[in-house]
């Protein structure tokens, strides 16, 4: 019996069985997709973003379909740190799921407290810092665009939780994403997650008003794949740590392009709403063509990229 090919990926201190993850926001706290997807077969799941205090999220409407994608303005609704640590983390330990916890905050102090709280917990493999969600107050987004803030926050979290992975999720809504990614690397990040949603907007022609009360919202889905590929490319040029590619992956081919752009792992988000089987299809395809994972274009396409 032949051994299955090695499609594992290592970021920092942790090795994952395969490079395919569910993106933050898709799978709230990991149990919801159980009827449709065996999430224990995935490389891992990034949870809904947790904040210090519970957030009730934005007033509806919260989603609006666009051609080739979706605008969302959920507003980081979550149960907050205390309830998450008390209720959700223990439940996740019981499922055989590799968990990356997404966290967000607005101040240095909040990040410190979040990191201290998680340092004392087990049942998860790492943290993904959400410095990039378009649907929180502008100040937080501005900080996520600020390289020295990004470096500082990354460092604060890494020193408190050194033995787990730290991924830093960067916003595409900046002029130079490479600069932000490099700052995260300097702060001690184990990987860069790129990208979060792209800020967009739509108008209701019946009312003459923006679809969302807040105006701006996050665009995701196949329409953003070209933007995500470009941003992953820029990040991969700027850092030597792995890049986790996210944004518009809707097919096995799209995942393959992410690896060509320089990703070492991928996250599937919006496409899961349409095709729950996609993550497992990507894993199966990589198992058949493991060379795709090493096919990053840095000049000549590699022999494996066929």
């Amino acid at each position: 019996m032949t051994t299955p090919p090695d499609i594992s990926v290592t970021t920092g201190p942790v090795t994952f069985a395969n490079p395919v993850f569910l993106a933050s926001g898709i799978c709230g706290y990991a149990g919801e997709y159980a009827p449709l997807v065996d999430i224990s077969l995935l490389g891992g799941v990034v949870t809904k973003t947790i904040t210090m205090r519970p957030r009730s999220g934005n007033q509806p409407p919260r989603v609006h379909e666009l051609p080739f994608g979706l605008l969302n303005s959920i507003g980081l609704e979550n149960i907050g740190l205390d309830a998450y640590v008390a209720d959700k983390l223990p439940a996740l330990r019981d499922m055989e799921v590799s968990v990356i916890v997404s966290v967000a905050a607005e101040t240095r102090d909040e990040f410190e407290r979040l990191a201290d709280a998680f340092a004392g917990c087990d049942g998860y493999l790492g943290i993904e810092l959400n410095l990039s969600c378009p649907n929180v107050e502008d100040r937080a987004l501005d900080l996520g665009r600020n390289p020295s803030f990004v470096e500082s926050i990354t460092h604060i979290v890494k020193v408190r939780i050194p033995d787990r992975v730290l991924w830093v999720k960067v916003t595409p809504n900046v002029t130079d994403i490479g600069e932000v990614a490099a700052a995260a690397e300097a702060g001690g990040a184990d990987a860069i997650s790129a990208i979060n949603t792209v800020v967009g907007m739509d108008f209701d022609l019946n009312t003459g008003k923006p679809v969302f009360a807040k105006g701006g919202a996050g665009y995701s889905g196949p329409g953003i794949l070209p933007i995500a590929l470009r941003k992953v490319w820029e990040c991969a040029q700027a850092v030597s740590i792995p890049v986790v590619g996210i944004g518009g992956i809707s097919s096995v081919s799209d995942a393959r392009k992410m690896f060509l752009a320089g990703a070492s792992a991928v996250q599937v988000g919006t496409a899961l709403y349409v095709e729950p089987g996609l993550p497992q299809n990507i894993i199966a395809a990589l198992a058949e063509h493991p060379g795709w994972m090493r096919a990053r274009v840095a000049g000549e396409p590699s022999e494996d990229n066929r």
């Binding site: 926001g25 898709i26 799978c27 709230g28 706290y29 149990g31 919801e32 997709y33 159980a34 009827p35 449709l36 519970p54 009730s56 999220g57 007033q59 509806p60 409407p61 919260r62 989603v63 609006h64 379909e65 051609p67 080739f68 979706l70 969302n72 959920i74 609704e77 979550n78 149960i79 309830a83 209720d87 889905g221 196949p222 919006t270 899961l272 709403y273 349409v274 729950p276 089987g277």
Partner: protein
């Protein structure tokens, strides 16, 4: 947010074959699908999340309430509202269709005398309830259906009147002339009920809530909303309710779609 234990839906991803599409009126059609073996049993009020046939610009699944389901066929009542539903209308016998479900909570079963009020495509779950109810649409489960005009009553295709469904048209072109909620009030005067069910435009269900409040009756309303995951994960489809801890958001897909009307914050619901 609710802190109770999350129970995932008893749902499956199903690949099915289309039996037929039946045009009911200028805007409505019935999509009949071979009931897949792997589909779990469903109850009236539940819905399925249906993939749009490929090739268009819009690809999110559409949540469609189950209009009828037996061992052989699953029926969905659909109004052609845009590109996605237009592509569904063009499905032909033998075409494949992908959905997951059944999803959501059902209308309560242990009830006594029900007066159900449906508007537009909201007829679907209420019709299913009557089909599953031993007495049909008369007696302890009465169904009233309101539409804008005669064309939307599907008279040539679905024997609603013969089955005992009370009909109303806003323009008076058939049946009771006027709002179906006015017909409901007249029905209650004639013969009391203990509980009201409703499904249809928000403004109609809100009027049913007012009627329920006036008459001191319970009211269960089945809501709809724009959805992404339809599993309770993404929190896109929330509506505001007055919960134990004050104003909270509940998902239409998982906490609903059937809600006790007395806890809904009607001012905060999506319209229509």
């Amino acid at each position: 947010m609710s802190q109770t234990v999350f129970v995932p839906a008893r749902a499956r991803l199903c690949r099915a074959r289309v039996l037929s599409t039946i045009r009911l009126s200028s805007r409505y059609f019935l999509l009949r699908i071979v009931r897949p073996d792997e589909m779990p049993a469903s109850a009236p009020g539940q819905f399925v999340h249906v993939a749009v046939p490929p090739g268009g610009r819009f690809f999110l699944r559409r949540p469609l309430s189950i209009h009828n389901c037996d061992d052989n066929a699953l029926e969905l009542l659909i109004v052609e509202a845009g590109e996605g539903t237009r592509r569904m209308r063009r499905l032909a016998s033998g075409d494949s269709l992908d959905f997951y479900g059944p999803l959501g909570g059902a209308f309560p079963r242990s009830v006594t005398r029900v007066l159900a009020i449906g508007g537009g495509v909201g007829l679907a779950p209420l019709y299913y309830y009557g089909r599953r109810n031993a007495g049909g649409f008369r007696g302890t489960y009465r169904l009233l259906y309101g539409a804008r005009t005669r064309d939307d009553l599907f008279l040539e295709h679905v024997p609603l009147e013969a089955q005992g469904v009370g009909l109303a048209t806003d323009d008076g072109s058939y049946g009771f002339a006027g709002n179906v909620v006015s017909l409901a009030a007249a029905e209650l005067d004639r013969d009391e009920a203990d509980v009201l069910f409703s499904c249809g435009p928000t403004v109609m269900m809100r009027a049913v809530q007012r009627l329920a409040d006036e008459r001191g009756l319970a009211h269960y309303a089945s809501l709809e909303n724009r959805m992404a995951c339809a599993l309770g994960a993404c929190r896109a489809c929330v509506v505001p309710v007055r919960g134990a801890r004050g104003r909270e958001f509940r998902t239409v897909c998982h906490d609903g779609p059937v809600f006790d009307g007395s806890v809904l914050d009607w001012d905060g619901l999506p319209v229509p």
